[in-house]
């Protein structure tokens, strides 16, 4: 109401019809009740019960992805990739690419809206062909051997990388591109090997491709055998939080892609993940199932 401003009646005032009517009419406050008529903590859950405003989290989408056979009786197998390759996509049991659709109209991100994405996937990195093929690539350390000489050992130095792409073109979902801050590992970093600087890996998760270690180490020197263990079936997961700036942007879908094998590289200035093209044909990644979920949230 917002406020009643009629002064109080005092001795000597004349009582007439106009004044009396004003005192009642001042309570007619159509469209004006506001904070002056509301106590602190006045509104609780029941006041938010009507409507479907989704005021804090306007949109959510969830999908299972991959080939749902959790005991690994059947799965997809992907071969390692070389510089320039488009990444592999997660596939369902029929071989169709998997993605999380945001519907026919997509989700429109306004400035300061947040997009939160969570995903997971069961995978198995492995190798085929020659034993320890990574000895011919840049995926090893060279350590001194007790009694003289050196030996190469990978020590978990190879990996497969997974990252996110989104479609901000239309709902045909035929125009996926890497999300902001994420490269495709095809920028040549050293020699002919493509890779990403780590500051261009903002949605990247990795899974070790090799587990190898020295059986016995004595004062920094190898004195036992080198043990290589299959990574086996494991899982990889990722989280990406994006706060949008600038003009409104409509996102129609998002998907997980992957490639490998990668290893670390330091240019003297930056740290990179770079491809190991020479052993790509030996690398395999088996893909099973997982999930992806996204949430749009308002921050103001």
């Amino acid at each position: 109401m917002s406020r009643l401003t009629q002064p109080a009646i005092v001795d000597g005032d004349a009582i007439n019809a106009a004044g009396l009517n004003d005192r009642f009419n001042q309570f007619n406050q159509s469209g004006t009740i506001n904070q002056f008529n509301t106590r602190d903590a006045a509104f609780d859950l029941p006041h938010f019960a009507t409507g479907n405003a989704r005021f804090l989290a306007p949109e959510m989408a969830v999908a299972e992805i991959g080939w749902n056979d959790w005991k690994h009786g059947s799965f997809h197998t992907f071969t390692g990739q070389t510089t320039g390759a488009a990444p592999h996509r997660v596939r369902d049991s029929g071989g169709t690419d998997e993605r999380l659709s945001f519907g026919a109209t997509g989700w429109t991100l306004q400035a300061d809206d947040a997009l939160r994405v969570f995903w997971d996937l069961s995978v198995r990195p492995r190798w085929e062909g020659a034993a320890r093929p990574w000895l011919n690539a840049a995926l090893t350390f060279e350590l001194p051997v007790s009694g003289g000489g050196t030996a190469k050992i990978s020590n978990g130095y190879g990996c497969w990388a997974f990252w996110l792409q989104w479609d901000v073109t239309d709902n045909t979902l035929a125009n996926f591109v890497n999300i902001p801050g994420q490269g495709d590992f095809n920028t040549v970093v050293t020699g002919t090997r493509g890779g990403n600087a780590l500051n261009n890996c903002k949605s990247t998760s990795v899974v070790p491709a090799i587990v190898e270690y020295a059986d016995v180490v004595d004062e920094g020197e190898l004195s036992g055998s080198i043990v290589t263990t299959p990574v086996g079936w494991t899982s990889v997961d990722g989280v990406w939080h994006y706060v949008h700036t600038g003009a409104a942007l409509t996102v129609y879908g998002i998907r997980v892609v992957f490639s490998g094998p990668f290893g670390a590289y330091h240019s003297g200035v930056n740290n990179y993940l770079v491809r190991n093209d020479v052993i790509a044909d030996n690398a395999r990644l088996d893909q099973q199932a997982g999930s992806i979920q996204a949430l749009q949230m308002r921050t103001r």
């Binding site: 019809a17 007619n28 904070q35 609780d44 299972e64 992805i65 270690y213 079936w233 979920q293």
Partner: protein
């Protein structure tokens, strides 16, 4: 509809008590229960102070307010709450069996009072194996793994709820070959190097379309006889529509 006095007065007429009291009665009725949406100012004027602050439940570590639930629990701090998974509760290690058992203490029940978007976040570190059982079924060493699956359900734990989420399972292999088999028992090699030490995390999102008391938690299917879940934590976010 805004208050309108039922009686209007005019000069030169008798001021009747009933008319005066009629206006007061109408005003009382309006102020008690008849303020309508159209009486409210249409521009945004509700401030944070006007909204009931959330209640905090220190036992469960969650708060509940007009936006929903937020909070979580973890196994660290001043005490370690070691948990376990075992094949003896999930089919004795037979790979043809799909039984899942609840991982103790990794669940919480929330009273969700409105339709909502829900996120259940979890993480854990576990040591799976070795498997020394001779009485139960044993799969080859490389197949001895534990599957951790997030679940959501109404009422007590139901293995079917977890099984329905098996696509979301996160599996960790056993560490059989990295544990010594004779005294002193213990680690032969570091877990991390051997890929046997599982540190995993994930998020499970779902939508509730009606109010209910809903349980979130972790379930396990193990193909090894012992699996110690050394550290774990979970958090939940429930956003009411």
């Amino acid at each position: 509809m805004a208050y309108t006095p039922p009686n209007t007065f005019a000069d030169g007429t008798t001021l009747a008590a009933a008319e005066l009291e009629g206006n007061f009665q109408a005003l009382r009725a309006y102020l008690h229960q008849q303020v309508s949406a159209g009486d409210l100012e249409s521009s945004k004027w509700i401030e944070t102070r006007h909204v009931q602050p959330p209640d905090y439940d220190p036992f469960r570590g969650f708060q509940h307010g007009v936006t929903g639930h937020q909070g979580g629990q973890w196994a660290g701090g001043t005490q370690i709450r070691l948990q376990f998974a075992t094949k003896y509760l999930s089919g004795n290690g037979r790979p043809s069996n799909d039984t899942l058992h609840a991982v103790p203490q990794t669940a919480v029940t929330l009273d969700i009072r409105q339709p909502a978007f829900c996120l259940f976040h979890y993480w854990y570190e576990l040591e799976n194996g070795r498997d020394s059982s001779t009485a139960a079924y044993q799969v080859p060493v490389e197949q001895r793994r534990v599957y951790i699956v997030p679940y959501v359900g109404v009422g007590p734990f139901n293995g079917q709820d977890a099984y329905n989420n098996r696509a979301r399972c996160q599996e960790t292999r056993n560490v059989n070959e990295n544990l010594t088999n004779s005294y002193p028992l213990g680690l032969a090699r570091p877990f991390v190097l051997a890929a046997g030490y599982g540190a995993k995390q994930g998020t499970f999102a779902f939508q509730r379309t009606n109010p209910a008391s809903v349980s979130f938690g972790l379930a396990a299917h193990s193909l090894a006889d012992r699996c110690g879940i050394v550290n774990w934590g979970f958090a939940a976010e429930v956003f009411y529509f």
